[in-house]
Amino acid sequence: MNVPVVTGETTEKHPLEDYLRFDRLPHIWCPGCGLGTVLGAFLRGLLQSGLTPDKVAVVSGIGCTGRSAGYIKLDSFHTTHGRAIAFATGLKLAKPELKVVVFSGDGDLAAIGGNHLIHAGRRNIDLTVLCVNNFNYGMTGGQFGPTTPVAARSTTSRTGNIENPFNMSALAAASGATYVARWTAAQVHQMERSITEALLKRGFSFVEVISPCPTYYGRMNRLPTGLDQMRYYRSNSVVRHGTNPNEVGVGVDGQIVTGKFIDIERPYLPSSGDGNNGG
């Protein structure tokens, strides 16, 4: 006799219960959205890294991804639009013993917060930036943004986007990030391992996660459910570690090159005071 699958309210503890505000679930994200998967991978990556949760602070900006700070049972702050990295920089400089993580979306980090991103990379501030890229402004109604691929449809580009998008990984690498990786939400294991590495890296570490947005981006680009997008990512992602990030742009269709692109050492801020800043 098999043990039946238990459904309904269970007394068994979820492994992430100590790090996630389960009283606030179900979260606001749409059915099929990959943000919950990314948030889970981040929390498991954090547990794997062995960092003391009391010494970790999560900062997020505005947007769907920005809501994640409210669901995490760690010190977290939901900042104004685009200023997540600016706030995190200040936090890190004031309290260098903290591990500061920025958890935000492409609209927040590449559009309004683009300048903060490149200058944090230039200064090589010891932050971990987790950028969830869903190729559009999901929360405000699916408008095209700085990461929307050419020819992709959105509510404000009904016949296809005509602008060239940012390649977030290349942008971070060119700014001077010491760790750059890209994964899709379908590559849960790799994403988790990469987040652990990024958390343990001293210096500006950047992990881009391509995530489904079924409500707007997927629906308008012939992948109407989150599951369709996950299948697409699963069958079209190729892992190429060490590839030049300039060569790994993401189109509206075709392959998505993922992997760890950059892992270098460079002097970082704030230096530890004993002259050891990784240089």
């Binding site: 179900p26 979260h27 919950g36 998967t37 849960v188 989150g226 599951l227």
Partner: protein, 82 residues
């Protein structure tokens, strides 16, 4: 449940939004969408034969709603997987 050598899959049905990620990602194809709905009207996942569950926790990892978790059968308190 000490006599069982099977992995137990727990689904918190009220959190399920019916995205079917777990069904797609289960390497053993054990989960399926049931006719049963939760209070929000989403079709919740079910699993018939958990004797075939290999305890890989893929469903738990991919679930965006934190609605599934697994208690592996041979999990000793002193030698957890993580």
């Amino acid at each position: 449940m000490t006599e069982s050598k099977q992995n137990q899959v727990f689904v918190t049905t009220e959190r399920c939004k019916g995205c079917r990620f777990c069904i797609e990602f289960c390497p053993q194809h054990l989960l399926y969408e049931s006719d049963e709905t939760n209070s929000k009207g989403y079709h919740i996942v079910h699993m018939d034969d958990n004797g075939k569950c290999i305890g890989c926790e893929m469903c738990s990892m991919v679930c965006p709603e934190f609605a599934i978790h697994i208690v592996t059968a041979d999990e000793e308190p002193e030698q957890g997987e993580g």
